[in-house]
């Protein structure tokens, strides 16, 4: 199915036409869910648990509130199964007998007046018999920890260990001989690295409007939900179970979505099911739009992580073998955690050659709200550990961080840790040279070495080298079995792309139309994309995992090729005008109606992935990158600032340079926030700083100049050679910044986020404290460094 893309110069791919929905957005006319009002619409609210874990003893209603005006929904009102299905059914739609995390939904309320809902929510009193909870990876894995997660025995997806959601073991090379390798290595370098939870902080909170329709006999006929989301078909599948309805009776429409970043991947299944339950019982359309505090306290975040490295290294800094223990805090329910853990596991080795490697990964249950998808999906966590550890190895061996990378980087023809041969002709050595040169890395190192000793402001540069897989794993894409349709209107001649892939700022609408226009040889302005509505669009898979440009884009290309073939007999050729295209479409239409074609994903023949052994082609293609950060650490205020940032990446063909740069800049900004600003403060599983006033994301005054550069090596897997781009920029900033801070201060911080209070604690403490380690390995207490050579 992968016909080569047409030769010759490209006319729209690679240029930057205006964003398809851009005019509506700059005029303030784009309709987000909270901008939509339906006739007789009511508003919904959620009553949530106030404790982390316990048994529900009683629910009472404040008699001062006129409850007869409200619709009240409990688990007993669910017509189907009480579950929000993701990978398993452990996640309840509404708690029944027990709660497992703070802010767990227990009861739903609806009322025609939005303003009365907060008082009504407060008027529902719930008493509990509290049970002991666990709130960190360590508490969860402690031998005497309470078992908060009892695995369902029939469910093969899960580990059978107490509090463990999922484990992976990934071994490669001479993993069986690791003990011998360690015994003979010149150095053994150990380190532990941690990352915190991170809030997606899309500026539009989660929100939906639901309707339920009854048949003449009063029975439930269908449900319809519209709202902010990434994956309309995920919500369809959730509704099928909650309402015991067939797929075609659960209609989901994505409205304009004000940012998502993973935070609207799995969560809309929860809020969408809730609103639909209220709609069914009240007989009205029901809108639920969270306010910021509820959204931050009640919805998913990035998984906190811990990476432990133990690496055998030769005298000259070559990696001989390693062990990586990677752990995630999954929160109270499985949701998407096994997939996040998988991506974190596969990315843990980084872009390096490991002659022997064993990665042990596990996700632990805690009594926090379930952690979920966030741009990067496990990779930023494990890459943070690996890239900090590479700098540590360099320090122990006594070579520069650059030399350390150069001696270990993968090259074309090498095998990754999963055994995948690198076919892309990417040259990471050359990319490293380019990045360090263009960012002025060497000159800055020299300059700061001169100026730092006499300054209270310590400056430094650091970098990270990394890769990011595009799309689902090989087997994942096969399971998704994505379908794309294209229809050419036989009256207007305009092609319409039909996909469930959603636009939430990243540019889906624009790049898919560019691909179609390019193949069809007609102007970009003549191609349209249909707003995702599951009644109309086929399931082209979820809009996640950096898969839209590469996987869905390729299918769009294939549908366009089929359109060309259909119109050729009616006189249309590449090189003709749109008028001729339209004429051919009309002529076709007289005989057959609209041109209506589809293309289904077919796994490329050379992509094999073994889910059991964790071997093979993990992803069809990778994006490669070198990010360089410059920092200034003020030793009088203990604040660290990123003062300059340079990002070089190889992402295949860049379809739309303005959008692509915007993706990288936005991701880097989130990465800088992850490193230096954004801290979730947990109090017994409750996010205590669930407001924008005290959860701080970067403002326009906080960010350094962001320099973005691309290398473009066309990939055979994407349209016109494009690969994925969306998640990559989240991976590099945090380790690059902490590497720079170590260069500036000599202190090896090992944990993000790194806020001034953490720097203060370390700089004023005697000896070692959490979150950092001493520079001199010989006095390093957390880390065993042996020289046996």
């Amino acid at each position: 199915m992968s016909e080569p893309t047409q030769p010759g110069p490209l006319f729209t791919v690679g240029s930057s036409p205006l964003r398809k929905e851009g005019v509506a957005k700059v005029m303030g006319q784009a309709k987000y869910v909270d901008d939509i009002t339906l006739p007789d619409m009511w508003f919904g609210a959620t009553v949530r648990s106030t404790i982390a874990r316990g048994r529900i003893v009683s629910i009472t209603f404040d008699p001062a509130i006129p409850w007869h005006e409200f619709t009240i929904v409990t688990a007993a009102d669910i017509p189907g199964e009480n579950t929000i299905v993701h990978l398993t059914k452990d996640h309840l739609c509404l708690a029944e007998t027990h709660v497992n995390h703070p802010n767990e939904p227990i009861l739903l309320l609806a009322h025609p007046d939005r303003a009365v809902l907060p008082a009504a929510v407060a008027g529902v009193q719930i008493t509990y018999e509290e049970l002991p909870g666990v709130f960190t990876i360590e508490e969860s894995e402690a031998p005497d920890a309470p078992a908060i997660w009892e695995p369902a025995p029939e469910d093969a997806l899960h580990s059978q260990e107490k509090n463990v959601f999922k484990t992976y073991l990934m071994e490669s090379g001479e993993a069986a001989s690791l003990e011998t390798i360690f015994a003979n290595a010149a150095y053994i370098v150990e380190g532990e690295y941690r990352t915190g939870a991170q809030e997606q902080l899309y500026i539009e909170n989660n929100g939906v409007i639901a309707e339920a329709f009854r048949a003449e006999d009063g029975s439930l006929e269908s449900v319809k939900v519209q709202g902010a989301m990434q994956c309309p078909y995920y919500l369809v599948h959730a509704l099928e179970l909650v309402f015991k309805l067939p797929e075609e009776k659960c209609r989901v429409i994505q409205t304009e979505t004000g940012g998502a970043f993973g935070g609207k991947e799995d969560f809309p299944s929860v809020i969408g099911s809730h609103a639909a339950l209220l709609a069914l019982k009240s007989g009205h359309p029901v809108k639920i739009c969270y306010d910021r505090a509820e959204d931050m306290a009640g919805t998913t975040k990035r998984h906190p992580s811990r990476s432990r490295h133990r690496t055998a290294v030769s005298k000259d800094g070559k990696i001989l073998g390693g062990e990586i223990d990677f752990a995630l805090d999954g929160g109270a329910y499985v949701t998407l955690t096994p997939v996040v853990l998988s991506r974190g596991t596969i990315h843990a080795p980084g872009p390096y050659h490991w002659p022997a490697l064993r990665v042990r990964a596990k996700a632990m249950a805690t009594n926090l709200p379930p952690h979920g998808a966030f741009r990067g999906f496990g990779a930023p966590q494990s890459i943070f550990g690996t890239e900090r550890h590479m700098d540590k190895i360099a320090r122990v061996v006594g070579i520069t961080p650059e030399e350390m990378r150069r001696r270990n980087l993968l090259a074309v023809g090498d095998r990754t840790a999963t055994g995948q041969i690198i076919h892309d002709t990417v040259d990471m050595q050359q990319m490293l040279t380019r990045a360090l040169t263009e960012s002025g890395y060497h000159a800055k190192r020299e300059e700061f070495a001169r100026t730092n000793p006499t300054s209270t402001i310590k400056r430094g540069v650091g970098f990270a080298t990394f890769l990011h897989g595009a799309g689902f794993t090989g087997s994942g894409e096969r399971r998704l079995n994505s379908l794309v349709k294209m229809i050419v209107d036989a009256k207007t001649g305009n092609p319409h792309i039909l996909v469930s892939s959603t636009e939430f700022g990243q540019g889906t609408n624009t790049i898919l139309c560019q691909v179609a226009a390019e193949v069809l040889g007609i102007p970009y302005d003549e191609v349209f994309i249909t707003q995702p509505d599951t009644k109309i669009v086929p399931n082209s898979g979820p809009t996640v995992a950096s898969r839209t440009a590469m996987i869905v884009g390729k299918l769009v290309e294939q549908t366009a090729i089929k359109i060309l073939a259909a119109l050729q007999p009616y006189g249309y050729e590449i090189g003709n005008t749109f008028e001729q295209f339209k004429k051919a479409a009309i002529a076709y239409g007289i005989e057959h109606g609209d041109v209506n074609v589809e293309a289904r994903y077919q796994s490329p023949g050379d992509i094999f992935w073994d889910d059991e052994a964790y071997r093979g082609e993990a992803y069809p293609a990778y994006a490669w990158a070198v990010y360089v950060a410059e920092v200034a650490v003020d030793t009088s205020t203990y604040s660290a600032t990123c003062t300059d940032f340079y990002a070089l990446q190889e992402v295949g063909k860049v379809l739309h340079p303005v959008l692509a740069k915007g993706q990288i800049e936005g991701g880097v900004a989130q990465g800088i926030g992850y490193a230096l600003y954004e801290k979730c403060v947990w109090q017994r599983g409750h996010m205590a700083n669930n407001q924008m006033t005290n959860y701080i994301m970067p403002t326009s005054a906080d960010l350094p100049p962001l320099h973005v550069a691309f290398e473009e090596i066309p990939s055979i897997h994407g349209p016109f050679g494009a690969k994925g781009i969306g998640e990559l920029p989240m991976d590099g900033p945090a380790p690059a910044i902490l590497n720079a801070i170590e260069a500036a201060t000599g202190i090896a911080f090992t944990e993000v986020p790194l806020l001034p209070e953490d720097i203060f604690e370390r700089m004023t403490a005697n000896g070692n404290t959490g979150g950092s380690e001493d520079l001199n390995p010989s006095i390093d207490r957390d880390t065993r460094v042996e020289s046996v050579a």
Binding site: S16, L18, R19, E21, G22, V23, A24, K25, V26, M27, G28, Q29, A30, K31, Y32, D34, D35, Q200, L201, Y202, I203, E204, N205, E256, T257, G258, G259, A260, F261, D291, R292, F504, G505, Q506, G507, V658, L659, K661, G662, E665, G666, G667, V668, A669, Q670, Q691, M692, T693, M697, T699, S700, A701, L703, L706
Partner: protein, 156 residues
């Protein structure tokens, strides 16, 4: 309920509302001007920004009562009919809008900034927009858009 009379996008409007109703809700619910968005409801994000007597305000922090007699400009009052204002055009061309939820507020903040500094320095732009959060862009394309708008004829 109080009667509030004020000017919105050059039109005189009179509404009945509880005196402490937020201007943001008055605009969105009573006047169906949904361009101003609620991102936080506490004055932190700027997505509810409007111009009130020429000043940039967070409409989530302004009560209906305070708006009595004021002249309000929302994003809906920026374009001339269907023709984009130069600031809007520059946001569109430079990639200053991604998901678009912060965009109405950003455009009004830019409008205000360019009245104050017709040729702003980068620092003035960074500080002038610091009350408007954008999670998508990393701000760089927004700075480009503001600079391009500053060099347009027909800006404010």
């Amino acid at each position: 309920m109080t009667t509030i009379t004020f000017t919105v996008n050059n039109e005189s409007r009179t509404i009945e509302a509880p005196p402490m109703k937020r201007l943001l809700d008055v605009l969105r619910e009573d006047l169906h001007l949904t361009g101003a968005k609620e991102g936080c409801g506490e004055g932190e994000c700027g997505s509810c920004s409007v111009l009130m007597n020429g000043e940039l305000v967070n409409s989530c922090l302004v009560s209906a009562l305070q708006a009595e007699g004021a002249a309000i400009t929302t994003i809906e009052g920026i374009a001339v009919g269907q023709k984009l204002h130069p600031i809007q055009q520059c946001f569109l061309e430079k990639g200053g809008a991604q998901c678009g939820i912060c965009t109405p507020g950003m455009i009004l903040a830019t409008h205000h900034l360019l009245e104050k500094y017709p040729q702003p320095t980068l620092l003035q732009i960074q500080e002038g927009l610091a009350g408007n959060l954008c999670r998508c862009t990393g701000y760089t394309r927004i700075f480009d858009a503001v600079q391009a708008a500053a060099n347009q004829p027909g800006k404010p």
